[in-house]
C-alpha cells in the first residue's frame, strides 16, 4: 500500500516537471514529430522493447539501463479519449507490477504498472498539458515515465511484440 500511496502524489512531481527543460531532463527533443508518427527521440538504433499482458510497454535506450514506459496503442484505443494522466514523481522507487501512473478517460481510470523494478527519473511533462498525446502516439510521444531499471535482465521475462499481439483479441 505504501508504494501505491507514494506513487500517487503528483503535486511534487508537477513542480519538477514544469521546470523548463532542465539539463537533468536529458535529451528532450527540441522539436516534436507530428502527432501520430513514431518518435525515436532517444536512440535511433534498434532497442529492446517489451510488453506486459496488462498492456504496458517498456523500451530500453540502447546500451543503457534507462527505459521509457507507456501503454500500448491497443490500450489507448480501447480506453478512448484520455483526459488526464497521473504522472509519477522523480526518484520514486517502484517494484515490478507497481503503479507508476494512472490514465483517466471519460469512462474509466486505469493504473499503469511498471513492468520491471526501478527508480523513476521523470514523468512525461507533455501529458500534463495534453493528455490526448496518449491517443495520438501511445508508443511514442505519449510515453508516461522514464525509469532507471534496476536489473535489465528482468526484461527478458516480458513479452516480445509477437507474444503480446497474441494476447490481444482479434
Amino acid at each position: 500500500m505504501a508504494a501505491v500511496a507514494r506513487s500517487i502524489r503528483p503535486s511534487a512531481f508537477r513542480a519538477l516537471a514544469q521546470r523548463p527543460l532542465a539539463p537533468s531532463l536529458g535529451a528532450a527533443p527540441a522539436f516534436r514529430f507530428p502527432r501520430g508518427t513514431r518518435s525515436f527521440s532517444q536512440s535511433p538504433l534498434a532497442q529492446v522493447k517489451k510488453y506486459t499482458e496488462s498492456h504496458e510497454w517498456i523500451e530500453l535506450a540502447d546500451g543503457s539501463n534507462i527505459a521509457k514506459i507507456g501503454i500500448t496503442k491497443y490500450a489507448a484505443n480501447s480506453l478512448g479519449d484520455v483526459v488526464f494522466v497521473e504522472l509519477p514523481e522523480a526518484d520514486l522507487e517502484v517494484g515490478a507490477g507497481e503503479p507508476v501512473g494512472a490514465v483517466e478517460s471519460v469512462k474509466s481510470a486505469s493504473d499503469v504498472l511498471s513492468p520491471v523494478a526501478g527508480k523513476v527519473i521523470r514523468g512525461n511533462a507533455v501529458l500534463e498539458d495534453d493528455a490526448k498525446t496518449i491517443n495520438a502516439s501511445a508508443e511514442g510521444d505519449g510515453w508516461i515515465a522514464e525509469i532507471e531499471v534496476a536489473d535489465v535482465a528482468e526484461l527478458d521475462a516480458l513479452l516480445d511484440e509477437a507474444a503480446y499481439n497474441e494476447t490481444l483479441d482479434h
Binding site: M1, V4, A5, I8, R9, P10, E53, S54, H55, E56, I71, Y74, A75, S78, L79, G80, D81, V83, F84, E86, G97, P99, A102, V103, E104, S105, V106, K107, S108, A109, S110, D111, V112, L113
Partner: protein
Amino acid sequence: MSSVRLFKKSVDLVAARAAAFNAPRASIGSTVLRRELSSALRAAPRTPATRITVRAVIPQVRNQAARYASSSSEPLAKTQLYDLHQAHGAKMVPFAGYSMPLQYADLSHVESHAWTREKASLFDVSHMVQHQLSGPGALELLMKVSPSSLDKLAPNTSTLSCLLEQGTGGIIDDTVITRRGEDSFYFVTNAGRRAEDLAFLGAEIDAYRSRHGMDSIKWDILEDRALVALQGPLAASALQPLINTSASTASTDLSTLYFGQCRELYITLADGSASPSPLLISRTGYTGEDGFEISIPTSGAADLPEQVVNLLLKDSNTVRLAGLAARDSLRLEAGMCLYGHDISTAQTPPDAALGWVVGRDRRDAATATFNGASVILPQVASPKTLKQRRVGLTVEKGSPAREGAIVVDLADPANPVEVGVVTSGLPSPSLGGINIAMAYVKNGFHKKGTELGVKVRNKVRKATVVGMPWIESKFHRPS
C-alpha cells in the same frame, strides 16, 4: 483503508439489492484482486478496495455474477438491432444481461457525446422493459406502487416516477409512466431491474386481482417492441420527414408534440409505403436534449426497427449511432440518476432529491395510499429530517472523482471527516473535462457552495457542492 472498506460495504449492500443499470459499470464484488489496464479494456468489474486499480469502468451489470451465477455461460440476450450494431462497428459489452453497444467505430466517446449535444444521436434502448397495463384496476394499482398523480395525467402524456417498496418507500426502480387512455398505461422500466420489477409488480397485481377479480388488470410485457431514443437538437428535423401524413390519424406535426407527450404515428418506409403499424413516439429522453423515444412494433414486420433506424441514419451529417458510454456521460451532465448507482431501494424519493415525483395532491397523510407514504410524506414535509442528500459536486482539476470515492469535510484539513460518497462521476465532456460528480452527503453539507473534499486514490481533492444539472435541459415545451 478499513473505513473505506466499511463504507464501501454499506454502499454495496444497497447495490447488491439493487442491480439495475442503464449504463455499464463493474462489480465491486469481484474476487479478482488485480485489474489494471487489462481489465479496463474489457470493461471488467470494478476492483475491490484492496488495491486501487481500475475504478469506474463504464458498463456492466454490477451484480451480474450474483444474478447470473448459475448461468454465467448463457449467451447474452440480443436486441432486435444487434446485427445493425455489428455492421456499424460497435464495441459490444455485456449490460443487464444483454450484449449492448458501448460506442461505435465512427466516433469516440467524447465525439459521440458532443455529437448528441450539437446534432442528434440514436441510442438502442430495446433492452429496457416496456409494459402495458390496462383494465379497470390499472390506475388504482399504479397509484399504489407509485406516488404520482396519475389520475390527473391527460391521455398521451407521461411523467417520470418511481416504483416504491411497500413499507419502506424505497425506490424499486425509476420509470416513465404514460397514460394512453382512461384505463390504459404504458411504462418503461430499467433492464437491470427486470427480475426485481417483474417480481414486485407480479405480486402487487396478484394481490389486486385476488381482491378485485382476474379481469381487473391486464398486464403485458411488450417483448415484441424495440425501443430507440433519438436525442439532440436536430432530432425533430430528422424525424419529421419520416412521418407518414396519409396513414397517420393523429397530428403529424412534431412541433406540437411537446415534452412529456406521445403520439402513435406511421412512418414512410424506404419504398414509399406506410409502416404496417404505427410507432409510439414520445417526446422524452435521458440526455437533457430535446428528442424522442420511439417504440417500434415488430409483429408482422420483424425488421421494422432496423428499417426505421436506417431511415434515421440516412444523413450521416445529422444522425449517428451512440452507445452506453455517451449515454452515461450525457445523463450525468443532465443531473439524471442512474438506478443502482445514484438511487436504489435504500433511498426513498426525498432521500434521492426526487421528492417532486410525489404528486402535490398526494401529500395528505389521511388519504395517501401509495407504498411507503408513511415514511415519505414526513420527509417531503420536513426535508431537514433527511439523513443524507443527493448533491452535485464539481471537483478540482486532476483525477476525476468516480463512484465510490469518499467525500470528506475539510473543516480541519489535517483530519478530514467522512461525510458522504460519490455515486457517479466523470470529467464532463461538454464542460471541457471539468470533473463532475453526484454524491450523497450528510444533511447540512448539502448546501450549494459548501466546500468539501473527495478522496481519489488516497489524495484529497477539493470539491464544491453545486446545483444540478450541469447542462441545462433543452426540452421542447409550449412557449
